[in-house]
Structures are given as structure tokens and as C-alpha cells.
Point group: C2
Chain length 317, copies 2
């Protein structure tokens, strides 16, 4: 079997499932709105580790990563479902109750209603499938496929922090995990913030031509935009908003690598036609490059040297 992205493309092409391939599927709802919907599966031992994350924190994260997909379409979240596979040993504890406490606390912030889901026993591992839907004004979801050569590339917030936090958790590499900077990196990994308000603002202002959330990593996610839009991109390493706590904790080369290829920052990556840039009123957006007509080629200029940036973010297969 090929890689996961190639396999998804194979399914899409083989059966003509054309709604597949963005952060959310966009489906007709009524005369005013489209419905967007997405699912995110998190598996113990692969996507998270119960030694690191309290159940409340895991509940928060399961919803946050799905809310981020809603944000990346410019949509407003509405309802959600949760499917849990629970080993008996965890069912006997207050784990599941606390998981829902973390989930519902974040859901209340975003007015998300839990409408269903499923609970199954599992033999060894905990897993959660987080399903969420939202509404977006009809025909106006911001997809991955609208980028045009000449558009400028912007990213929200700071990059690499979540991957830095994961590295600290995985390796215990002689860093003090209670120091303010390392604690903040770990919080970025465990308790991400979905940028729903920013996504909505970008949708309402109609300034962006394409959008994706950075879940796999910048190098992969810019490639996703390029593939879906039939374009290329040139990025400038000196412009990247590398997480300040990452820079104070890791060496410069490693910080850059984590900012480029580390996943789970859940920042928004957008492309903006040049004539719209003056309309960008949102704070916390940084210009990092430009879209080109060089299909599927992403260049990175670093200290005067240009290299091609592969899709090196996270993939399961």
C-alpha cells in the first residue's frame, strides 16, 4: 500500500468521491448556508500517550483539532459526535467522565452541541474519533484550491511550538520541563487553541483565496494547497514566525526544522491576492512567501540559498 495521502487520492479518483480532499467536506444545506463536516481519529500509542495527557486534556485536544478544521474553512461550528474505543481497565476508572469534562468545557466556549457518537469496548488501547460539523455562507467556504500565482502566503501565530513540546515529552532530553518556556511548548502540544474566530473573520472579509490549518506541518500543508490549487510557492525562512519558546529551548537549525515540518500547531495558513493585502486587518498574521505558477514546487530561501522543500510533515503511512 502507498502512503496515506496517495491512498486517499486513489479512493477519491477510483470512485469519483469529489468532496474528499479539504479540511472539511462542503455539502449543500439550505439557501443561505453550506454544511461542512470532518472527522479526526486519535489512537493511543500513535497520536497521543496517556502518560503525558490527563483525560480532560485529551478531551480538549480531540475537539480542538476538529474545530481547527472548521476554522480552516471559515465556518462556524455547530454540532459534533464522539466515538470512543475504551479498554475495560479505563472504563473502570473516571477516565471517560473526565475526558467528556475536558471536551464539553471547550465545546461550551464554541457553542458546539454533542448530538451523538458511539462507545465500544477495545482490547488494549483508547481511541477517539472526533466528528464535527459547521455552517458557512453558501458558496463561500475557503478551500485549499483557490490559490493563484502572485498571491501572498500568510500564517497565523507562531510555528513549531507543538512539535517542540512533543520532542520534550518524548525524549526528556535533559531540559527542565517546568521552566516557563518548556512548559509553554508542552501546553502547545497537549492543549492546542483552534482559531475559529480568525477563520470566521477571514471568511467574512473575503480577502483570502485559499486556507488550510497546519496540522501535518507547514511543509506538508503548503504542498496540500499547491496540489489542490495547481500552483507552487516560494517561502522565505527569515520571515517564518518561529515560536519564541522554541528558539530559546532548541538550537536554530532544529527550531527551523520543527517550524517547517513539525505538525499540530493548528495555525492557519492562507493565501491572499496582492490587491487584498491592504484589507487584511487581522493581527497576528505574518507574510512568509508567495504563490508561483511552478506546479507542486515549493522553494525555501534560507540565508541566500534556495532549496526545494519536500512534504516532510507528519504522516501515519
Amino acid at each position: 500500500m502507498k502512503g496515506e495521502f496517495e491512498f486517499i487520492q486513489y479512493i477519491k479518483n477510483s470512485y469519483g468521491f469529489n468532496a474528499i480532499g479539504d479540511d472539511c467536506a462542503v455539502l449543500p444545506k439550505n439557501s443561505d448556508f453550506d454544511l461542512v463536516v470532518t472527522a479526526d481519529l486519535l489512537v493511543e500509542g500513535i497520536d497521543f500517550n496517556l502518560e503525558w495527557a490527563k483525560p480532560e486534556v485529551l478531551g480538549h485536544k480531540a475537539l480542538a483539532i476538529s474545530l481547527s478544521d472548521i476554522a480552516a474553512m471559515g465556518a462556524e461550528p455547530t454540532w459534533a459526535m464522539l466515538s470512543l474505543a475504551v479498554p475495560s481497565s479505563l472504563w473502570e476508572t473516571d477516565f471517560v467522565k473526565r475526558f467528556y469534562e475536558g471536551w464539553t468545557a471547550l465545546a461550551a466556549e464554541f457553542n458546539v452541541e454533542l448530538v451523538g457518537g458511539d462507545i465500544s469496548r477495545s482490547t488494549e488501547r483508547f481511541a477517539v474519533d472526533s466528528i464535527i460539523s459547521g455552517d458557512v455562507p453558501k458558496g463561500l467556504a475557503i478551500t485549499r484550491s483557490g490559490a493563484k500565482p502572485g498571491d501572498l502566503v500568510f500564517v497565523s501565530g507562531q510555528l513549531g511550538g507543538a512539535a517542540g513540546g512533543l520532542k520534550l515529552l518524548q525524549n526528556f532530553i535533559g531540559k527542565d520541563l517546568n521552566k516557563a518556556e518548556t512548559a509553554k511548548l508542552i501546553e502547545r502540544q497537549l492543549q492546542p487553541t483552534p482559531h475559529v474566530a480568525l477563520g470566521r473573520e477571514l471568511q467574512r472579509s473575503k480577502v483570502a483565496s485559499a486556507m488550510i490549518d497546519i496540522s501535518d506541518g507547514l511543509s506538508s500543508d503548503i504542498h496540500h494547497i499547491c496540489e489542490q490549487s495547481g500552483v507552487g510557492a516560494e517561502l522565505d525562512a527569515s520571515l517564518l514566525p518561529i515560536d519564541i519558546n522554541l528558539k530559546s529551548t532548541f538550537e536554530p537549525d532544529e527550531s527551523l526544522s520543527l517550524a517547517l515540518n513539525g505538525g499540530e500547531d493548528f495555525e492557519l495558513l492562507i493565501t491572499v491576492p496582492e490587491q487584498n493585502v491592504s484589507l487584511l486587518t487581522m493581527e497576528d498574521l505574518t507574510r512568509i512567501g508567495v504563490i508561483t505558477s511552478n506546479i507542486n514546487v515549493v522553494g525555501l530561501t534560507n540565508k541566500g540559498r534556495r532549496t526545494e522543500l519536500d512534504s516532510s510533515g507528519y504522516r501515519h503511512f
Copy 2:
């Protein structure tokens, strides 16, 4: 932690999630239709066994059980998502490709479009979360909560076959699995048929007051209707349409027990006000009892003796 049904009730009550508690959630879509949506999680080693089921068969079943929930609301299926947790050892084979072949073959029959989902690696076991949505004329979904004392209870098809098939697969109890009768029981377990057309017909004819699909087992699912409707029921064992292949393979007592408590028949269980019974034009429906005002009490009369029927169908916890 309590049982799974009690836990779901706890979540529903604690947070006021009132859409929870039927085969599907019913949500507003547009001026003509409501949207229904449901998720079913199947975990290897708990809900299925890879030694018994080919990947195509598993793909069929994952969709069939969700289609059955759509049928139980009287809805028309529209779109679906699939989240798969896949161990590396399976990814290396054609397992996932064949799983989708089984899924898409059934999806084509029912005009279901795959619009998204997720793929994650897992450490040991395969799992699938099957999400499906449908449309139903506004305000006219058939829920579990509409049964009234005096309504008659009907069931489609035959009962207990799927549980009989499971018993044969689990125990190899000295039966010839290639005999026509046993092969049919095993097929009922592995490759269930969702009754979408019957569900639609019942919705259009407006004859039923409540409906559920028999996924956990008749004894549990009649209790679900009673709880949601605030009623009781009296069933007559002599009227139960016990699977003919079950009767020819197992002893009478075991056949009755499997028909009452065995899950996964995916037949439709409906309640019909007496004045509507003459309007029931569907073949293959059998009257098995009556709804009473004896809240949450289900009686079963067998050979002149009445006992109370507990909710003894399948539950994960």
C-alpha cells in the same frame, strides 16, 4: 463507571445534550428536510474478528449497520465518512483497498457518497468508525419516543439469525458450517441487509408511532422504545418470527433466547396505533405484541406463562 447506556444518559442529562438518544440525531437542515446523522464504531477483537470476515465483508458491514440506523429514522441516506485505525501489518497488504471495495459496493446500491473521514495508524488492532447522514421530511423522522399504550408492536423479517451465526463462528460447536442453513446464519452475522426501503415506506405512509433497528437485541431494543416513550410492552413468544435456519440448527429454547437477546439482526421494530394497522401494506412485518402504560416493564408470555423480560441484549459495558 456504570453501563454504557447509563453513561450516555448521564452525559445527555449532565450537559443538556438533548439530540442524543435515538438511532440518529435529528437536526434542522432546510425548509423541507431534517438532517439525520449517526456514528458506529467497530473494533477488532470486540465487534468483529479478522479470521471470520474478509475485508470486503467488513467494509459492507461497517456501512450496513449505519444504514440500518438511517432506515430506523425513516430517512434517505446521503453522505458518509469513514475513520480507520490500521496496524502497519495490515497497511502493507491489500486489506484497506478491499475494505473500501466492500464499502463502496454497498454505498453504490444506496447512493451514498463518501465525503471524508480519517486514517490513523494503530499499534495492534483494526478499528473503523462509520459515520452516515441522511435526509428525512421535516418533523417527520420516526423516533423511539412516539409509542403510546395500545399501539401494536411489529417486527420486520426474522429474528436471531445473526446471533446464531455468531455462535457458530465463535464456538465451532460441531455443526457443519457449509450446510445451507448454517451458511445462511453466518451470512446474516457477517453481511447484514439494512432495511432502508422499508424505513422510507413506513415514513411516507405515516403509520408507525415509533421505530428502532434491532442492533443490540429485541429485549434491549424494545426497552429503548419503552424508556424513550414512557411506556411498557407485552410480547407473545409464540408470535416471534424466529429465523427458520436458527430453528433447524439449534434447540427451541436456545433459538428463542437468541431471537430475544441476540443482536445484529438489523430488523426494524415498530409500534403502530391500532387504527393504522389496516394501512400497513408492507409484507414481511409480524405483529409480536402491544404497548402498555406499565412504564419500562416488558412482559413476555411463553406457553401460557408470563415473565418480565430484562434488557439482555448486547452491551459493551
